[in-house]
């Protein structure tokens, strides 16, 4: 069984007090408890502070481009669907630059686990508004405050019938660990939006701000009720729900592809002389 020592990577270059530290910790603990070893999964990440996460632990890694996490992860999952493929992105990365890919990954219901470090601000580029920044937030590039409606990833996911929709909070790593484990165990596409205070650039959505608002979804809540899930997804402001908002058992993309029904693509050998190519169709 792996221990948290087995996952020790480079020293993180995040700001002291950054919400990413507790996300990293929760993530490693979840993997240890699930007994997943470093070579048994791959993290695909984009660009942003959260996207540096795979360098700070040990695993197979494709750290690609800003916004393009999901298509790389999709290609990899289709090449080897027995590999656990995890996508790590930030709110700018996944809800902004890569928004189109998110819609289509949810539509496909491909078995990727997406963890979004949602700090409602651009950290890496030093403090511009992100798609989840709240209306009115003033930044260097939004001197009159944000005019656009805040993107609601939970409501978007429920609307697209995403098969696993959850929200965690970096300030509650134990709870977050549980969500990560649940997401890892889910077969289809899983979205876990993680509220993550940015101690340097986001002076509105602080640990304190979140702590006053978040609550755990009650045990008797039925996450399979889509209409109820949509109501919960719309909650923001005074009360912000944490936990599994929605889940369903939609067919999983990779399980519907006849070509990989028995064997992953990567383990299907090729030999041109034995490929069965006859050129007959061209005569």
């Amino acid at each position: 069984m792996p221990t948290s020592e087995d996952y020790k990577g480079q020293a993180p270059a995040w700001c002291p007090g950054c919400g990413n530290f507790s996300i990293l910790k929760a993530f490693v603990e979840a993997l240890v408890e699930l007994g997943i070893e470093p070579h048994q999964f791959t993290i695909v990440s984009g660009i942003g502070q959260g996207a540096k996460l795979p360098h700070y632990l040990k695993c197979n890694t494709f750290n690609g481009l800003h916004g393009r996490t999901l298509p790389v992860a999709t290609g990899m999952k289709l090449a080897n669907h027995e590999m656990r493929v995890i996508a790590v992105a930030g709110d700018g990365d996944c809800y902004g630059e890569g928004g189109n890919h998110l819609l289509h990954a949810m539509r496909r219901n491909i078995g990727l686990k997406l963890f979004v470090h949602d700090n409602q601000i651009y950290g890496l580029t030093k403090g511009q508004a992100s798609p989840t920044s709240m209306e009115g937030m003033k930044t260097k590039t939004q001197p009159f405050g944000v005019f656009s409606e805040q993107l609601n990833p939970m409501a978007l996911a429920v609307a697209l019938d995403c098969s696993f929709v959850a929200r965690g909070f970096a300030g509650e790593p134990e709870h977050l660990k549980g969500l990560i484990k649940e997401a890892m165990g889910h077969k289809g596409f899983s979205l876990v939006d993680i509220l993550q205070p940015c101690v340097t650039f986001n002076k509105i959505n602080t640990y304190e701000w979140y702590r006053q608002r978040v609550y755990h979804i009650e045990a008797e809540y039925n996450p399979e009720d889509r209409a109820e899930a949509f109501k919960r997804a719309l909650q923001w402001g005074e009360r912000i729900p944490l936990g599994i908002l929605y889940r369903n058992n939609r067919p999983v993309y990779e399980e519907r592809i006849p070509v990989i029904k028995d064997t992953p693509l990567v383990r299907q050998p090729f030999d041109p002389s034995n490929s069965g190519i006859t050129f007959k169709e061209f005569y």
Binding site: F62, G64, G75, L78, V259, L265, V266, F270
Partner: protein, 574 residues
């Protein structure tokens, strides 16, 4: 014997079906075939043509003059009557065109009435027309009837019988009524292979062990998607239709990182979106093959027409400095083997490799004696399974003598496979230090570059070994250049220099092409673009400037007559 048949009509009238059928009949009869198409960006209406040239000798270019015009609309007659050669014939149905032509070269064939009478439905008018063309040429209908049987078998015996009757009705009508038809066909021979440019790229990918193809539909590259999707089950391939071209290339990179051979394809506008992904392939040293089907730009341009204006785009695309290879096949046969070579080079050196083609090559069908798998290269350069397990240590971007690091398959062992779009160390983790950066540039670029350049074949010299006149081209102008040399070589010492492996620019060592050019009295670079992109690349890479250029940028390919006219004008000034 060298005949051209033109089928003209609206989109949706089935020109493609008639054209494909005729081309197949001629190739099965052992004739050499060259077909090309001209169509508009619409599904119904407008005006399109499909032209088939067949001969007892090799043919590789469109002709301007035609022997038979099958007119399915009035516009065909207005546009192409003037292209008819002496003793040429127009066939049409006066009932559906609502017009009669009394001229001797016009033959009114009641396509629809015969279809209704013998086949039971007007739908079979095209089958009647196909049969009629067989009759006009004096060809036995057996090959056509066999083909109809194969095509319609799935729809039941009744449909087969109806189509056979319709074809025979057309055939017999033409034999009886076309008294002026005086076509003399060479005796049939051994069946030939008939294949289009896009099919050849698709087939080349399949034969190279491509396991993953992701793309967003865009003319003229969609044919590759269609071909590969059709083969998914047979050869164990996944063809993923991506949400956009950005996703398409990133998916291909993900699949390649996952351990399989991967490819994407698009046209100029889609490639513009992919460009950042090309750079990602370079930095992460992830093999990928990119088929770039050119069409006239800028922007949407002429969506269904042809141009060679993306060569410099392919050669220079993406930010940063990194090695790549660019191939530009001139025939479907070259497209097949260069697609294979593209995969080999991409995997061997872990780089992006381009197959630059255009609408003209994509849609033209050619005949060949046949391809063989013996010449197909296949080496699995990846470290998988036990090979990876037995290593003591593994570093994805290990510094090596030749710059090529071991390409491990993630999950196949306890060794971790790590890569990054940031500058990284040997393990693949991001770094900021200058020393590692410099070593990585040496590894990724300088060490690999001479090895890749060494793989590039010289251009093809065809015609006179010591030419006075050299005509130079790349990609899809191969056929028309070759036939121009054949037409002029009796009187002139003329040769063609054709480049199909363009970047890294071929060295002068194996074939001293620069000497050939410098010793000639007249060198002409012929390109289907406005600015002479290849001529510019030649000047940049080799410091050689062509004496003159012939450029065509109306969205149409060169016809043989047209290019000969232009060449003769230059030669006349010598």
């Amino acid at each position: 014997m060298d005949y051209s048949i033109k089928l003209g009509g609206e989109a949706g009238q089935g020109l493609q079906t008639v054209g494909d059928t005729l081309a197949k009949v001629f190739s099965r009869a052992g004739y050499h075939v060259f077909s090309h198409q001209d169509y508009e960006s619409r599904v119904r209406g407008g005006h399109n043509f499909f032209q088939i040239r067949f001969s007892d000798g090799p043919v590789s270019a469109p002709r301007e003059k035609i022997n038979i015009l099958a007119a399915f609309d009035n516009e065909s007659i207005a546009r192409y009557e003037g292209q008819l050669m002496e003793h040429g014939q127009v066939i049409y149905d006066s009932h559906s065109l609502k017009k009669s032509f009394g001229k001797p070269q016009f033959l009114d064939i009641p396509f629809e009435a015969l279809a209704l009478e013998h086949g039971g439905s007007k739908i079979m008018a095209n089958t009647v027309a196909t049969g009629a063309i067989m009759g006009m040429l004096g060809m036995e209908p057996d090959i056509l009837l066999g083909l109809l049987r194969e095509t319609f078998l799935r729809k039941g015996e009744d449909v087969v019988t109806a189509n056979v009757s319709a074809a025979m009705a057309g055939h017999d009508f033409a034999v009886r009524e076309c008294i002026k038809c005086s076509f003399a066909l060479a005796p049939p021979g051994k069946p030939k292979m008939l294949i289009s440019g896009v099919e050849a790229i698709g087939l080349g990918a399949v034969a190279s062990g491509c396991k993953f193809y992701s793309a967003y539909p865009m003319t003229p590259s969609t044919g590759i998607m269609n071909y590969i999707a059709d083969k998914e089950k047979e050869y164990g391939i996944i063809m993923e239709q991506a949400e956009d071209e950005i996703a398409a290339i990133n998916m291909a990179l993900g699949a390649s990182f996952g351990g399989v051979r991967a490819m994407t394809g698009t046209s100029g506008g889609g490639f513009a979106l992919m460009v950042e992904g090309v750079s990602l392939a370079a930095m992460t040293e992830t093999p990928v093959v990119i088929a770039l089907g050119q069409r006239p730009g800028p922007a949407t341009g002429f969506p269904t027409r042809t141009e060679q204006a993306e060569l410099l785009f392919a050669v220079h695309s993406a930010h940063g400095e990194f090695p790549r290879a660019v191939f530009a096949p001139g025939t479907p046969e070259q497209a097949f083997f260069l697609t294979n070579k593209a995969f080999d080079i991409a995997e061997k050196y872990q780089i992006p490799v381009f197959i630059v083609f255009d609408q003209h090559l994509a849609d033209t069908q050619w005949t060949f004696d046949g391809f063989t798998l013996k010449e197909v290269r296949y080496t699995d350069y990846r470290l998988r399974g036990d090979l990876l397990k037995t290593l003591d240590t593994y570093k994805r971007h290990l510094f090596t003598e030749n710059g090529v690091s071991p390409l491990g398959v993630p999950g196949d062992s306890r060794h971790l496979v790590v890569t990054d779009s940031d500058e990284h160390d040997e393990e693949g983790h991001m770094v900021e230090d200058a020393e590692t950066r410099v070593r990585m540039v040496h590894k990724r670029l300088f060490r690999k570059l001479p090895l890749i350049a060494h793989e590039i074949a010289p251009p093809l010299l065809y015609g006179s070994a010591e030419p006075d006149i050299v005509i130079v081209g790349w990609g899809s102008t191969y056929g028309v250049l070759k036939e121009s040399v054949e037409a002029l070589r009796k009187e002139k010492r003329i040769a063609m220099l054709h480049f199909s492996e363009i970047y890294p620019f071929p060295s002068n060592e194996n074939l001293r092409y620069l000497d050939v050019l410098r010793n000639a009295k007249l060198t002409i670079c012929v390109e289907n673009n406005a600015t002479g992109q290849f001529a510019r690349l030649m000047r940049a890479e080799k410091g050689y400037e062509f004496h003159t250029r012939i450029n065509k940028y109306d969205g149409r390919p060169f016809t043989l007559e047209e290019l000969l006219g232009e060449l003769n004008a230059h030669i006349g000034r010598l």
